[in-house]
């Protein structure tokens, strides 16, 4: 019989507590329901009520035994556990008492008088025991984690600190590491359920470590127990998070290692530490330092379908750049025998602010058409190579404040057009191969346009 003494077996049975514990709740709720029904209607429910209380009491006793086994494993907050334990025991006893009262008709006077009191008592005890049990399993912050701020203040919780996601001002612990810990570790390592006596909720507790001593060695991730546990083979017995919970991602592991190696800071900013490109990209996966490009920051209303249909009827190919986006790209087929006319362009201008990419390459463009291109205020990419664009046409483009990509290769532009190109503030890439620009002109472009890559083709 030695196997009975093994604590593992206790744990084995103990874990069924979480399942059995719902039975008394269900039975007692059922009894309450019957009590309410029997108040109004003339249904004979006394036997049903008494059996429901009885079933509640019996399943309650089983749940208590299993619960005691589970608690023997340790790692739970003592006071919460005590409340949970004693309220549950009281609830079970009263449930049993109610069974007897109902069963034997409660002949004694004081018992009859206090029946209502016992019903209310068993109800409240059920709620108290249940709530504390939930806190033990999920942590006391679980229930109201996503509650709206008014409810949080009512419950006396701090309003959620707004997480800083800007790379320059975010804090390494508060905005990165504690977020990772909260998401992946603190279900078990919190004030109510500190498995292995380890709490990962506050800096003091993190540094204090668990029952086997400290878990973090500043500057040495390799020798930190916490790091070892999260990087073991997931099949390993000591791997964390255990019990099939979601492991840390590759990037999260990397960030934890980086935080340890950079000296376990709890108050420094990210920028105070050594930020490599790789760390920056890992930070992006946890939502820090995501750069919004101009296009991503555009928030425009959808263009009416009728307008899109008219633009299509005019011969343009137009579609959204991505699903769920209201931004549009436009092109014009080289096989279309009809050149783009002014009227067609006017049609297209109805959608002007939503159009971010235009491809009018390899077709005939009249000066009138080109002159309207400047009105597409949010254009970021213009492919207009191998057309009859000239210096005059370039002038029309000067108003494109967000143009990042301009392809004019094979067009008849000369050094006189350089001034127009210089007026494009957002330009990043410029393609001028096979234009009439002189080598000197191309030199000027390369030297005078800061931050613009100029592609002039093979020498």
């Amino acid at each position: 019989m030695t196997f009975l003494l093994e604590s593992n077996l206790y744990q084995f049975f103990g874990r069924f507590h979480a399942m059995i514990v719902h039975l008394p709740i269900g039975f007692i709720s059922l009894a309450l329901l019957f009590e309410i029904v029997s108040l109004k209607q003339k249904v004979e429910l006394k036997p049903a009520i008494s059996y429901a209380y009885f079933a509640g009491a019996i399943s309650g006793i089983v749940a208590i035994i299993l619960g005691l086994m589970l608690a023997s494993g340790g790692g739970y907050n003592e006071s919460t556990l005590n409340i949970h334990k004693w309220t549950a025991i009281a609830m079970t006893c009263i449930s049993l008492l109610l069974f007897f009262i109902k069963r034997y008709q409660g002949k004694v006077y004081w018992v009859k008088r206090s029946y209502l009191f016992f019903v209310i008592a068993v109800t409240s005890l059920m709620f108290i025991a249940g709530h504390n049990g939930g806190n033990l399993t999920h942590g006391s912050t679980y229930l109201l984690e996503y509650a709206p701020t008014p409810i949080r203040t009512l419950a006396g919780l701090k309003p959620e600190r707004k997480r800083i996601t800007n790379l320059d001002s975010a804090l390494v612990y508060q905005d990165v590491i504690s977020v990772v810990f909260d998401a992946k570790c603190n279900v078990c390592h919190n004030a109510d359920k500190s498995k292995g006596d380890l709490l990962l909720t506050t800096p003091e507790n993190i540094l204090k470590g668990g029952k086997n001593g400290i878990v973090l060695v500043a500057g040495d991730a390799e020798n930190s127990e916490l790091f070892r546990r999260i990087t073991l083979d997931p099949e390993h017995k000591e791997f964390m998070p255990t019990e099939g919970r979601t492991p840390l991602t590759k990037e999260e592991v990397q960030l934890v290692a980086w935080w340890i190696n950079e000296g376990l800071s709890f108050d420094k900013k990210l920028t105070d530490l050594n930020l490599t490109d790789r760390i920056k990209s890992s930070l992006q996966t946890v939502g820090i330092g995501l750069k919004k490009s101009f296009v991503e920051s555009l928030d425009l209303a959808e263009i009416d379908n009728k307008i899109i249909e008219d633009i299509r009827a005019a011969g343009f190919k137009i579609k959204t750049v991505a699903n769920n986006s209201n931004l549009l790209e436009v092109s014009y087929s080289v096989y279309n025998p009809e050149p783009i006319s002014e009227e067609k362009m006017n049609q297209l201008l109805h959608a002007r602010s939503n159009i971010i990419w235009i491809n009018f390459s390899n077709i005939d463009l009249s000066p009138q058409v080109v002159s309207k291109l400047g009105q597409f205020e949010n254009l970021t990419q213009l492919k207009i190579q191998n057309t009859n664009l000239d210096d005059e046409g370039l002038k029309a483009l000067e108003s494109l404040k967000h143009l990042e990509y301009l392809n004019v290769y094979g067009d008849a532009i000369t050094d006189a057009g350089i001034e127009s190109i210089k007026r494009l503030p957002a330009l990043k890439k410029l393609y001028v191969w096979k234009t009439k620009l002189t080598p000197k002109g191309i030199n000027r472009l390369t030297n005078e346009l800061n931050g613009v890559e100029v592609f002039s083709g093979l020498e």
Binding site: V295, E296, A322, Y335, Y405, G457, L458
Partner: protein
């Protein structure tokens, strides 16, 4: 004898309709339940909705709009071209340690092979200081535009399954190729050309055969259209003698009218795709000869690629690939052949055969990058170069004996590919192999990861891009694949 028959007859007589219904009640109940829960659960879903963009693609803003995939069938030796291993040079000629051989299967290596050092000299090139061997003098000019991935690995050590794995995501035939997936998802940008074209540099077809550019269970119009090197670029694209374009148009019109009424009667979507195929073929009669005619290119461009008109070569195909993507073809797949350097003869030897092969591709693939770049196409065209697996750090000893030429066997654990353009960082080397190039030791990239990354650049989430077939959703990367984020701009 008769008794037996009689018993059988009697039994059948007893089985009445009532018996039948009685026995079938469970099944009938199931069918009734299925029809209650929604008829689509009854026979498996059959999504035949016709919509302008039924797939809701791309999922997000794409960095690349088209792909040129250069597949070196036969698997080039990474140890001679990209992955410089000075330690392997020191071990040259020594017996391979048993630890590398235990539990491994090789295609030809038997017993204990000898280690084989790199056969060519390596030097650093470009601002990025990328190592390249003397086999790739031209390519050294564009190293700052490409990302070299040295830690590729695969599951298959034979050519055909490995090629299928790279091209279709599965080592068994029958899945759609990556080009078919992409054109199915994104369509073509040019209504007069197929969205997915395949160019083969003469010589042998890849061992995986046409499955490597097949459409699998996707509608057949998405399979790769192979361009021939001589005669009609696409079979039967020109009119036969005596058939004028007018008559052709009239006859196609008549066929399409009949198909049209057929569709009205039976509502089969395959009829619609037949009509669109006829229409596409008619348009292609003009557009294909035009786009595939490299004589339209100026001399200096042809010289840059080393392309010669009328020849079946990788150089011609690179030039053609550029012409095709310029016209908006979505996916251009090139296959080169003869990279299987086992060392069984001169042509498959590392010293001579590999030199000859590299001479054939070095200039054209470099020209392709430069040409795409000067036209502004590299910005949104993703170029991928690679084989189906790598080659062993050991010298091949087929039959357990020393072979007359230097060669290496098939190797799945580590090989090199490169990518350029389409939102991929330039001038970086990603991943590392161990000191002899046997295993990837840092940032390993599986074939499915590469596929996920290619789709990602086209704005497609590889986990959401599925096709329901035979009762389950299929995707290119099936149940694996991670986008290699460090490669992206």
């Amino acid at each position: 004898m008769d008794l037996f028959n009689e018993a059988r007859k009697r039994q059948l007589e007893y089985t009445t309709r009532r018996h039948f219904l009685k026995k079938c009640t469970t099944g009938l109940g199931g069918i009734a339940l299925a029809s209650l829960m929604g008829p689509q659960y009854m026979f498996g879903s059959n999504n035949t909705q016709v919509n302008v963009n039924p797939l809701n693609l791309p999922h997000f803003l794409p960095k690349a709009k088209r792909v040129i995939y250069l597949h070196m069938a036969g698997a080039p030796s990474q140890l001679e071209m990209f992955d410089y291993k000075p330690t392997l040079q020191k071990l040259n000629g020594l017996d391979c340690p048993q630890s590398f051989l235990e539990g491994k299967r090789f295609a030809f290596i038997q017993g204990t092979p000898k280690m084989l050092g790199p056969q060519f000299n390596f030097k650093k090139y470009g601002q990025s200081g990328t190592y390249l061997s003397s086999l790739l003098p031209h390519f050294s000019e564009v190293v700052d535009d490409v990302a070299i991935v040295k830690s590729m690995h695969t599951d298959q050590f034979n050519h055909a399954p490995a090629q299928l794995l790279v091209q279709t995501g599965s080592a068994r035939a029958g899945r759609p190729s990556i080009g078919a997936w992409v054109t199915y998802g994104l369509g073509s940008e040019n209504e007069n050309l197929p969205g997915y074209m395949v160019l083969i540099s003469g010589g042998k077809n890849p061992s995986a055969g046409k499955n490597a550019w097949g459409s699998g269970f996707l509608p057949s119009e998405y399979q790769g259209v192979q361009c021939r090197n001589s005669g009609d670029p696409i079979l039967y694209v020109s009119n036969p003698n005596g058939m004028s374009r007018d008559i052709r148009q009239k006859s196609l019109k008549a066929i399409n009218d009949i198909n049209e009424s057929e569709y009205k009667e039976f509502n089969d979507d395959e009829t619609l795709s037949r009509i669109s195929q006829y229409e596409m073929a008619f348009k292609m009669q003009l557009s294909v000869p035009e786009v595939t005619d490299i004589s339209k290119e100026p001399d200096y461009i042809r010289e840059m690629y080393g392309a010669k008109q009328g020849e079946a070569s990788f150089a011609n195909n690179c030039l053609l690939a550029r012409r095709l993507v310029e016209q908006g073809v979505r996916f251009v797949q090139l296959y080169d052949w003869g990279w299987d350097m086992h060392g069984t003869n001169k042509a498959s030897s590392l010293n001579e055969g590999l030199q000859a092969k590299c001479d054939q591709i070095d200039k054209p693939m470099t020209a392709l990058i430069k040409d795409l770049k000067q036209r502004g196409l590299l910005e949104d065209t993703l170029v991928v170069w690679g084989g189906e697996f790598g080659r062993t750090p050991m010298r091949e000893n087929r039959g357990g004996i020393e072979m007359p030429f230097y060669g290496r066997d098939h190797h799945t654990e580590a090989y090199t590919i490169w990518m350029a353009g389409g939102g991929i960082k330039g001038g970086i080397t990603y991943g590392e192999t161990d000191e002899i190039g046997y295993y990837g030791i840092k940032d390993k990239v599986h074939v499915h990861d590469l596929q996920a990354t290619i789709l990602n650049q086209l704005g497609i989430n590889h986990e959401k891009f599925t096709y329901n077939f035979q009762g389950r959703d299929f995707r290119l990367t099936d149940v694996s694949g991670h986008v290699v984020k460090d490669l992206l701009i």
